[in-house]
Symmetry: C2
Subunit: 192 residues, 2 copies
């Protein structure tokens, strides 16, 4: 067939997750991951910019889902309404079938600070992209950043709960966003 098996990156990711889950992240060498699929360390680093990325690469699609949700929003929607739509759209990227995989992946991340760092960074990067999309819709800088970053926060919390509970991510995210808005309203009424 093919000279090189297709989907090299995917095979590396799979092997990496398995090794990380059993042996632990730090106890697993990039060379070992590569060897597990019959490749070289050098090739590993051609597919992933660094060792951590093997667990995170492929989130462009999630970003795309967010952006699709933004584009689908009504032109006169307020920033948080747009974010609500983006969350609905993004939630479709985590159907319940992915939960088992997501769980083992998350358990690896939760056991390693360096991986958590990367995870937070990815979330923040997503927020930055979303903020840019909001600004492109005419939302002003600060409002766009606030709404986008809040969306990321909500997504993060909702995702964590989705891993634990057996409900759909879309439902949980809507609920969490609602709670955020309610909390904010609570603060706005009594003071100032």
């Amino acid at each position: 067939m093919a000279r090189w098996e297709p989907g090299t990156a995917e095979r590396l990711q799979k092997a990496a997750l398995e090794l990380f889950a059993t042996r632990g992240y730090e106890q697993t060498t990039a060379a070992e991951i590569a060897q597990a699929v019959g490749l070289t360390e050098r090739t590993f680093f051609r597919h992933f910019s660094d060792k951590r990325e093997v667990l995170f690469q492929g989130q462009e699609q999630l970003v795309r889902a967010f952006l699709d949700g933004i584009e689908a929003a009504a032109p006169d929607a307020s920033p948080f309404e747009v974010v609500a739509g983006a969350l609905r759209s993004a939630a479709t990227f985590f159907p319940d079938e992915r939960r088992p995989h997501a769980r083992t992946r998350q358990s690896v991340i939760d056991r390693n600070p360096a991986l958590q760092e990367r995870e937070h960074h990815k979330l923040t990067t997503m927020a930055t992209t979303v903020a840019a999309a909001l600004r492109a819709r005419g939302v002003d800088e600060v409002a766009a950043t606030l709404a986008a970053e809040s969306g990321a926060t909500v997504f993060g919390i909702a995702f964590t709960r989705w891993l634990r509970e057996e409900r759909s991510l879309a439902d949980i995210a809507a609920e969490v966003l609602d709670e955020l808005l309610t909390l904010a309203a609570q603060a706005l009424r009594p003071t100032r």
Copy 2:
């Protein structure tokens, strides 16, 4: 006098910032930083868990300021009101005199993705600590996380503006928080 000059970590931090600012972060070796103050690379890593930390260590005081602000809040204050107090308290840790130093430091961070990653991570870590303090006050898990994380977002945005504008951080933070609450209220009224 003393066999070892006191404040070794501080001298390392100062030397590191200077080298990073002129030569660049990646072009500066941990060994070079140590040498600049007459020490060894090994000693550098005894003071800082990794190379990046030389720019971030010492933020426990900032966290402390946040927590003080939380403790000072009225017992019946809503989560966001508590966060507002925490922000006021935290803002005192960045008097305007620190702006020049903060600016050069930030310019170094802005030029290096790995440093940005650490910066985001620190913010998130702070948020986690604040969330725990809120929970200790009886706030429920999700609300505590939302409020704390929103506080971190506001702080981050405010800090960025504080670097650019010549106003006090407390003022800017109050303003940004206000905008967040307003945005949230906007979203709560029209829909649902």
